[in-house]
Amino acid sequence: MRFLPLLALSLMACSDYSNTLAPKDGAYDTGGGAWGADTGDQAGAGDGDDTASENESDYLKLAPAATDQYVFVANPGRDTVTRIAVSTLDVQTVGVGRIPSTVQTTSDYRLALTLDEGDDAVSRIYAETLDVEQVGIRDNMNQLDLSPDGQFAMAWFDPDAESLGTSDGVTSFNEVSFVRTDPLVHYPMAVGYGPKGVRWSDDGKRAIVVSDGSLALVDLTAETPKAELIPLADDELDAPVAEEVVLTPDGKYAFVRQRGVEDLVVVDLDNQVVDHVTVGNDPTDMDVAPDGASLAVVARTARQIWSFDVENPYATPAVVDFPSDSPYGSISFGGDGSHALLYTNAAAIDSLAIWDVDGGGFDERTLVKPVASIGLSPTGDTAIVFHTKTDVADADPKDPFYGNWAVTLMETDGLGENRLLLPSEPTGYTVTDDNEWGYFILDGMQLLEACSFETLIPDQVSLASVPVFVGTLPGHNAAWVSQKHDLGRLSFYDPSARTLDTLTGFELNSDIEH
C-alpha cells in the first residue's frame, strides 16, 4: 500500500509501510518518490543475500501538508480541506472537489493543492484566504506531485496505487496532467508508457516525466508546456525497470539507474542525447552531493562507490572501495556533503560506514542491529538509525535487543550515540528544520518520541490515541501528530515548552453550517 497520508489521516488507517515509497532524503528526490524500487522485507532485512534490492525509499519519512502557519488536512469523505492554525488551533474548513485524496502545500506556504479524484480535477487553495479554484484534469489520475517552487503540479495514474474516485472515463497509461498553479491552467500530455513520477529541476525550468522506456522532457518556461519524449530503450514495452532517476540541479542531465543493468543511463537533456556510463557491479543507489557537483553511485557487489562529475559525467569517475566486505547498498549525504552514510537494508548487516568524502576515509561502526531505515538531521551531524526486528545471523539471544525493535541516535561527526529498545515498530519519523529535534512514532503506542539531537536523549510524550502520521512545521521545532480518531485528532508538540496541544474532532468542523 502506498502512503495516502491525508486519506489515512482521516480514515485512521495505519499504513503498512512495507511497500511505501516516499521521497528520498536528497534534495533532488523531492518528486514523487523513488519509484519502482523493490522494497524487500522492511520488517526484517535479508539474511545477507547480496542480490536483494535496497529499499530505496526513505519510507518512514512523511511529507506534512503544512506551511509555517497551518496544517492542511484533506477530508475525502466530505470533499473538504481543513486548515488548522498552529498558533491558535483555529480550524477552518473549505469545500473542494469530490474526494480530495491528497493535499500538498507549496514551499512559499502560499498555496495548497488537492487532487480531487472524484471530479478528475485539482483544487487550488490560497492558504490565507482559503479561496478555492478548481481545474479539470485527465480522467482517473491518482497521484499528484507539486514542484518545489509551487509553480506546477503533475498528476498521473499509478496502477499499483489505490484510487478513490475512478470515473467512467478512459484510463490512459500514457497520459499525465500538468497544472500551472497561478493562473490555474491544465496541460494534458502524452508521455512514455506507465509514467512513474516527475523530477523538477531546481531552477524550476524543467521537469522530466519518467517511464521505464523513456523520459519526457517538459519545458516549464514555455507558454504552453509540451512533452518531448527521449527514448531510453529500443523497445519501450520491454525496457528495464527504471529504479531511480536523478536530475542535476541545473536540469542539464538526468541519470537513470535501471534494475539489473550495470551501466548508468546519462541523458543530456539540452541535446536530448542518451548515453551510458559504466559503474561497478550491481549499482543499487545513487545520490547527488549537496553542492550538486558530484553524483555518488553505490556498486554493492563491487563494494565500491563511484563518483561522477555532474558537469562532465563522461569524465573518469573517482572510485572508492568500501572499508570492508560488508554489502552496503545505500548512500545518504549529510547536510554539507562532507560525509555520507553507507549502509544497507537489504541484508542483515549490523554495521554502517561514515564516509569522509573530502578525506576519503571511512569510520565503520557496529550497530546493535541491522538497519531498516536511516534519517538524518538537516545538517547531517545526527542520524536516527531505525533497526530491523530481525537480528544478524550470529546474534546472541540473550542480548536485550534480540528480537526487538530498536533505534540508535548517533552522532555522525562524533562518537555519541544512544541505543533505544522499542516496544513496537516505528511507523513514522520527521526532523525539524533547526537541526535540533527528531520525532518518531511507534505502531500501536500512544506515544510520540521527541529526540534531542543535542543530547541524544528522547522525551516520551503521551498521546490521546494511537498516532498515524508525524510531521513538522517549516520554520518551527514543533511537531504535529495525527492520531486515530473517528472525527480526526491532531496534536502539536512544542519541545521548548514541553507542551502538547491536541485538537480532536476537527473533521466536525467540515460540517458546521453558517
Binding site: V91, L487, T499, T504, F506, L508, S510, I512, E513, H514
Partner: protein, 519 residues
Amino acid sequence: MLLPLLLLGCNPWDIPDVGSNSPGELWDPAVVPAKDGVYVRLPAAGTLVRVTHDGAWSTVDLDGARPDRLFASPDGASVFVDTSWDVCEDDDPAIVYPEDCPDSKLSTATEVALVRDGERVGGAALDGVSAALDQVAWTTDSGTAALYLSPEAGAEVVVDGYLNLNEVTFVETADATVHRVSVGFAPESVLFTGDDSRAVVLSRSQVAVVNLANDVDGCDAWSVCVTYHLTLDADQTVTPHDVVLVGDGRYALVSVESSSDVYVLDLERESIDLLELVAPPSAVVDDPANNRTVFTFGTKPMVSVLEHDFFEVQDIATDEPESAAALTSSGVLLYNDAIDAYKDVLMFDPASGDWDEQRAENPIYDLRAGTRYAVANERPEGTALSDVYDSHYVFGIFQLAPAGTEGVRDPVHLVLQSEPVGLETLETDSADYALLLLSDVDSLLKVRLDDASATSIDLPAAPLGIAASPDASFIVTGDSPMGMVSFVDPADDSLQTVTGFATSNFLGRPALPRRAASE
C-alpha cells in the same frame, strides 16, 4: 443557569410540572408565586386565580379556557399558562355545555397565554404557540423565554393540530411577541449566553446558535447563525446531555449521553474540539473565577478539572464518587445524591485540586448550597432496628469554607420527625436560615444555620409545600379544601394567611366557551 442545575441535581429546564389535574380537587397546591401575587389553578372550576398578600383574590380571564400548567419567569414578572378548552364542532345553538355536545364532535383545543398583573399580555393567547411545549428556558433578565418539548415527553403529549419538533419557540415577554426558530430535531435543552444575545440550543446530534439580537455579524435576529453537527454519520445519534458556557461565554461545553466525550464549541471562532474524560460525566460546574470547569463521574472516584487557557484536563482522585457538584463562593461542593453508600461532601478547590471532606449521616437527596452553608435533606437508610440517624430523615448543615481552612465546624445533623415536604433557604446580614416543612407537622421550622437552633412558626394547617416569592417572602400552602396560602415574612416570622379562594366559580357550571351562539 448552571447553579440551579446543580443545586437541584437535575436539568435546569426540567421545570416542575405544576399541572397535576386531579378531578374533584378545588385547587392545586402547587402554586406559582409571582411579583403580583400567587397564581393558583382551580381545576374543578376550570379557572386561574391570583391571590394577593392583602387577602384578595381575582380570576384571570383566559377566555373560557382552563389552566392546565403554569410556569413563572425567574423574576416573577410573568407567568406562562398552558390552557385548554372544549370545542364542539356542532353549531347547534342549543348546545351550551360540553355534555350537550355529541361525543363524536367534542374535542379539546389548547393554547398558551402569558399572564402579567392578572391579565393576558396582549389580551389574547400567544399566537401559534403549542401548549404541548413543556420546557422553558429564560434569559438572565427574564425578557425572553424559549419553549420546547421535553425530550422525555411521551405519548401523553396532546398535539393540537401538529407539533413541529424541529422548532424552539421564543417569546419576548414584554409584549408577548413570538418567534419560532427551526433548530434541528428534538431540542434537548436551551442555554442563553450571559449577555442574552444568543441562545445555544442542543438537539439531537447537533447544536444550533440562535441570534436574539438584531443583525449581529450578518446574522438576522431570531435565526440560526451557526449549527454544529456532533456526528458526521447520519446513522449515528448523539444525544446531548448537558451544556455549560465557559470562558466568558465564548465556549460551550456539551456532554453527551453515555459518552466520555465533551464537545468544546468555540462560539466565537465557530469551531469544534473534543475532550475525552475518564468516564461519562454526571455533573459539570463552571468556576469562572478560577477559569476552570469541574466534572464529576457518579460511579468513579475522580474529579476532572478543565482549565480554559489550553483546555487541558487534570484528573484528581477522590475517596468516593461524586455525582453532583455546586459552585459556591468557597469552591465547588461535591457530593453524591445517586448512590446511597457514598456520603462524602467535599469542598473542592479547582485551582489547586485540594479538597476538604465532610460527611453526611444519611444519603443526600436534596442539597441547597448557599454562601456560608449548605443544607441537605437526607433520607433514612436503615430498618427499624437501625440507629436513630439511619431510621429517620435527617437535616444536615454543612459549613462552607475554602479547602484548607482551619476551624471549620463539623457538620450538624438534625433528626427530623417526619419527611420534609419543603425546603427553602434564607441568607440575611445577621444570619442564615433554612425554612423546613415536615409532613403532617403544622408548623414551619426555621433553623438558624450557624448554631443549628430552631424556632417554629405555627401554621393554620398541615403544610403542603413552600416556595420562595420574588418579594423575598415565602409562600406556604396549607391543607385546606377551600384553598390556603400563607405569606411568611422571614424578617419577623409573621404570617398572613389567605383562604377560601378555591370557592371562586365554585358553583358555576362551565359552558362551552368561544361559541358564536353563546355570545
